[in-house]
């Protein structure tokens, strides 16, 4: 009987060594600024340049580097401004798109010229209104409100949001709306970088035909 007891207590003792290991392992988990233990660290750090993650520390990962030069994890491009991996396109680059939209060259103050532009989207496609509403809810609603009354949640903190159903906006054209989305007007910022021309025309159609009805 005594022998059994001794075996058990010896077992418990060796197990407490395991407990220490377990405690040690708990510090492997990611928390706060610590990414956690990386098993095979090369897997976490991209060798090619990545647009959305880059490491500027030239020493990073030099413990696994076999050749001279910066560490294995250094992924910044010293030839670019601010050592970024992304680069702005060459000036006057014309982006290709499947609908053949040419760059919008009107200036912010050319609103009157823009108002004469005709929406190139077909008028008999009900899907355009459906898409327009979806896009309006994603990109406009938080300021202009679900019905365009200028009562979105952000408008509370950002005075000057237009009531799209107001008298001043009742006779505006889709070209006018497209121009304002693209270039901004008054306090509204330019949203041309966030929406493709086709999406902007869809929103213009939706505002003109549903919100301002």
């Amino acid at each position: 009987m005594d022998k059994l007891k001794r075996t058990i207590s010896r077992f418990l003792l060796s197990l407490s060594a395991f407990a220490f290991v377990a405690y040690g392992l708990s510090s492997c988990a990611a928390k706060g600024d610590y990414t956690g233990t990386e098993y095979a660290p090369q897997m976490y750090h991209s060798v090619p340049y990545e647009g959305l993650s880059q490491i500027q520390d030239k020493e990073a990962g030099n413990f696994i580097t076999s050749i001279d030069g910066p560490g294995e994890f250094y992924t910044s491009n010293p030839n670019n401004p601010n050592e970024m991996n992304m680069r702005a396109p060459v000036p006057n680059t014309v982006p290709r798109n499947k609908n053949g939209y040419t760059p919008y060259r009107l200036a912010t103050e050319d609103l009157e010229t823009a108002a004469g532009n005709i929406n190139p989207l077909p008028t008999d496609n009900p899907q355009i209104i459906v898409d327009g509403k979806l896009l309006f809810d994603r990109f406009c609603e938080h300021c202009h409100g679900p019905k365009g009354l200028g009562d979105g949640l952000v408008a509370d903190k950002y005075p000057g949001v237009a009531n799209l159903t107001g008298l001043a906006y009742q006779d505006i054209t889709e070209g006018h709306i497209f121009h304002v989305i693209t270039m901004g007007k008054g306090l509204m910022g330019a949203h041309g970088s966030q929406l493709s021309p086709e999406e902007r025309w869809k929103i213009a159609r939706y505002i003109n035909e549903v919100i301002q009805k």
Binding site: M1, K5, P48, E141
Partner: protein, 419 residues
Amino acid sequence: MHTTDRLSLNVNFIARFSAFLFFILIVGVSSLRAQEISEDAEVIAQGEQLFKANCTACHRINERLIGPALRDVHTRREIDWILNFVKNPQKMINSGDEIANALFEEYQVVMTAFPFSDDQILSVVSYIKAESDKPIEVAVATTTAGDGTVVEHGMPQTYINVIMVGLIVVLVILLIVLFLIINVLARFLKEKELDEDEREVVEQRLNLKALVRSNAFLGFAAFFFTAVVLKTVIDGLFTVGVQTGYAPTQPIAFSHQIHAGQYQIDCNYCHTGVRKSKSANIPSVNICMNCHSAIKNIPWTTNPSPEIAKIYQAVETNTPIEWVRVHNLPDLAYFNHSQHVEVGGIECQTCHGPVEEMDVISQYANLTMGWCINCHRETNLNTRGNAYYDKLVQLHSEVSKEPMKVEDNGGLECARCHY
């Protein structure tokens, strides 16, 4: 015949002429009246409605917003000036009107032209006059309300902590007191003469020691201890290389809880790539500036926020903001956002968790292969209204009663993600 005809014609003419005169008179009087500011409740109500629908975006009665405060505007400006300015502010500025140009200098914005009728503008002015005659209310409610909500958020948690600690202290004191009582009683009883049954009860402590040393107890303790240790070791091993809970400090203390939660700005508004490309993308500074060109203060205060100032600094020095990447897949796995969000119709929160409640973004899903595969096994394919799937669905329904899953469309093929 002739004379009577002429007579009736004359009478007819006179009647018509007088009706015309009467009409002119009425129009004249009413237009004269319209040039004045009315105190008629109906007109004021109409003015209020127009004011709230068209003007409140930029004007308040008592505070300066985008445009000037309109309190007592009827005493500051001629009615004609107001009428002309509202109808076409740009024309007034171009015509060299001194007041209009001074306003443009001060506010740097040209007011939108409003195609109101004179009557409508006058009704709005009537409303402004009626409001101007009321005393100014001091607006302190907002700041206290703001502070109040912050306090409300913090207090209950600390209360609970204090109560818990208090309870534990009380329980420990109770234990000590009970132990002392037992000791005193036992010592008292030992000094007395007792029969066998009573002695057994008094010396129970010895029996307890024996119980602790018994094989059954030791066996159970060993089992329990082993189980706990093994579970901890295995859990610990599974955290190696898995970055769930990683919540790095970002260069700007941006709160998704405020932007996506409180103000319900759609994820797509900033992460514009999510439906179009592999990456959801981090917004560039111009998207921040769509709102922060006007919003510069710490919420609920008038102090400029040092965090928002960092956006301005980035704009002025033309340097990128170096956000720290949270979700990181190894190079060996390909993942495309548009395929999952636009095509698959998956909500952002499915993988990223309740972002709209996170003050600091932390990794929610573990992003392991098992996690990916599990979802590909369980998720139904949306095949409706897509002719591409018609034959596949037909073939699938011949061998299975289950609806078609992602795995049935090759969602578990190695080369889907690893190539």
